[in-house]
């Protein structure tokens, strides 16, 4: 029995890591007496897989995981019991039994983010938008970064253009302060390619030179999409 679970990770809970989240769910399953299956062997682990691990500090309106149950557990009851066990910020929104052959992480293709950043040289939002559109019309966007592997510096150069689906700028929201830019962007996510939202910010800052405070950005994942036979759709 494979149960697909849609949940949020919001508020201060964004400061828990992917591993913390796995542990938190395992304990909640145990407290809630959810009949989850365990792996065989020396150190049995509950059978669960999270669609696309979220980096520490990023919020999400929509996360997915698959869990394997030993017998069918009523959907509504599952949601009720689990939400009672889960902390504020992590909430199960929906569940559905699926008989998927492919693993959840392997079908995930895209993540849709909302990124809010402060900038020290704010310019007209229409100008920013025009620049972004020009940026996206390039065939290649080269992203360079220095990685540390086994104490050695390795320079990684890649074309990230195929990893960016679209970018839009939120312009007419009165709640956005004058020194803040809010992007929405669709970025590749999962086994078939991945662009971290923070790397996206570094790349866009490189191009726009807006002096944005990257490490202070508020990042929220709004959706996760699967890509099945070329079509983008919800995993649910």
């Amino acid at each position: 029995m494979n149960l697909r679970v849609k949940f949020t990770k919001k508020g201060y809970l964004k400061y828990t890591s992917h591993l913390d989240l796995m542990r938190l769910f395992q304990r909640a399953f145990r407290r809630g007496n959810i009949p989850i299956k365990y792996s065989e062997g020396y150190n049995p682990q509950p059978k669960m897989s999270i669609a696309s691990p979220l980096a520490l500090g990023i919020e999400s309106e929509e996360e997915f995981m698959d869990i394997e149950l030993s017998n069918k557990f009523p959907e509504k009851e599952f949601i009720k019991i689990m939400n009672n066990e889960l902390p504020e910020g992590i909430k199960i929104l929906d569940v559905k039994y699926v008989d998927e052959k492919k693993s959840l992480p392997s079908i995930v293709g895209w993540s849709y983010y909302e990124i809010s950043v402060k900038t020290k040289n704010m310019i007209d939002r229409n100008v920013i938008e025009a620049k972004i559109n020009k940026w996206l019309s390039e065939r290649e966007i080269i992203f360079e970064r220095i990685k540390f592997k086994k104490g050695k510096e390795i320079k990684e150069v890649k074309n990230i253009r195929p990893l960016i689906g679209n970018i839009s700028l939120v312009k007419d929201d009165k709640n956005i302060s004058d020194d803040t830019i809010v992007f929405r962007c669709l970025l590749k996510s999962g086994d078939s390619g991945n662009l971290k939202p923070t790397d996206f910010l570094i790349a866009i800052e490189d191009y726009l030179n807006l002096n944005i405070e990257i490490e202070m950005a508020d990042i929220k994942r709004l959706n996760i999409f699967a890509e099945l036979e070329g079509k983008i759709q919800s995993p649910m």
């Binding site: 201060y12 400061y15 542990r23 304990r27 520490l56 902390p87 490490e215 202070m216």
Partner: protein, 613 residues
Amino acid sequence: MINRTSFDQVLKKAEKPARYIGMEKNSISKDLSTVDIKFAFAFPDVYEVGMSHLGLHILYNLLNNEDYIACERVFAPWIDMENEMRKEGIPLYTLENKEPIKNFDFIGFTLQYEMSYTNIINMLDLGNIPIFSKDRKEDDPLVIAGGPCAYNPEPIADFIDLFVIGEGEEIVLEIMELYRQFKLNGYKRDEFLQEVSKIEGVYVPKFYKVYYKEDNTIERMEPLIDGIPQIINKRIIKDLDKSYYPEKIIVPFIETVHDRIPLEIFRGCTRGCRFCQAGMIYRPVREKEVDTLLELAEKLVNSTGYADISLTSLSSCAYSQLQLLVTKLINKYNEKRVGISLPSLRLDSFSLDILKEIEKVRKTGLTFAPEAGSQRLRDVINKGVTEKDLETAVSYAFEEGWSTIKLYFMIGLPTETKEDLLGIKDLGYKVKNIFFNLPKEKRQGNLKITLSASCFVPKPFTPFQLVGQNSLEEFNEKINFLKNKIKDKKITFNYHDPKLSFLEAVLARGDRRLGKVLVRAWELGCKFDGWSEIFDYDKWMQAFEETGISADFYALRERKFDEVMPWDFIDIGVDKAFLIKEYQKAKEGLLTRDCREGCNNCGINRSFLGGVC
């Protein structure tokens, strides 16, 4: 409440930010405006360490069980977080309501190890609370402290308003009740402190004056006001089985040092190892009943979702019904995949059957503590373990499939010689031979032996409380001697930093005059001194130098039988004469039997009627 916007900014920069957010399962966040007393339970180390401490879970839930009290937690922020908090002007706050600790009625520090003392000063400062007790005003919180290090409270007497000596479960509620009465009828800080010092087990340092002799030893200590006791008796819970134990404990988001259910099976220890402070101060032995423990285990598994239950005590194998308890727990939880662990095994009471039972569920590395390398020295410290015990235990473990063995030793024990040190090496090699003497098909895994040596620190209320510690030179010489002798791919030799142990010895047996040194060291930037990567010995030495206080005086000097110890005004129920007699027996290598085999007249059964020992 602290400023949420700047808090959010700070969290973005912090390493492991989940340390600072609270909100865990079973944490209790009350409306602070509706309670009479706000109590901040303060652990002077990082979250992961503090959350692994059983006392925190007991007292947190005990206090929150009272409707009129809100108990919230506060830990020492790690250095990166502290820097950001100071930059943003965020005062130290509690995890539950994110309320500055300055707004609490009590800040309660738990004193688990001496090397956390600078963190206490730092936390008060970060909370905008005057660090010296004498500088606190009417509306400042009362700073209260308890725990094992409170048995010698003197080094931090300048910073703490009141100490609790002994076990806290009953006395803390007596203090809260008294405080509530004062608050209803017009609270005055000094009047409260006078009244509270009449409760048995409470020590208010500012009401006592210490007189010193010309040679810097203590002449006497006297109460400054009438009606408070000359001698402070420790508090104990007489009936541990009926005593409060939480049915829910907070489940942290992040991994902590002990990430499991702590099930306390008994308090006290009858072994009488002569170096061990816990073995003396927690007397007499008091057990919980098997049925009580099973009931608690059930509730805790259901309320936490933890996959491990750890049976905690000073020496778990000494629990009289261990076999029964373990069998019942395993039968019950095997299917639920909840494991059972015994953190403190003794070689002599090593029960093969019990280990076998536990192993059915999960197998981890094995740790033994022979403490000394030779039988002679093990007799000196009254660790009644023989080489034969170790051989039996290790052979069994190897046959059952273990291959990682850790052996703990102390160096610098009284009367230690080169032969005793070589005994450490010999035991390591002996264990290796036992492994390779097994037929090849019986050997499992890759053999790994770790010999770990710590530097002996003489502690108050032990038979060795008078002993002069080895100097740094002596410790280093011994460590190098062993390092050069132990050269084997299968055997790793680890050792503790002697500098840290030296300072621990100073603080453990220090008096009030060390307050000056602590403040100076803190001003120089000392904190998290128990963390070897942060500990800065040179700054400490500078602090001693600048305050004109000799560290050697406290650590290295062999003290005389008739010298007044800074902690002599505390009565733990074990007679000073017994401790001296034990020290003399130690020097002659004479053993003292386990109290379960017959009374050794330590005094505890005269001091605490109702104790079983």
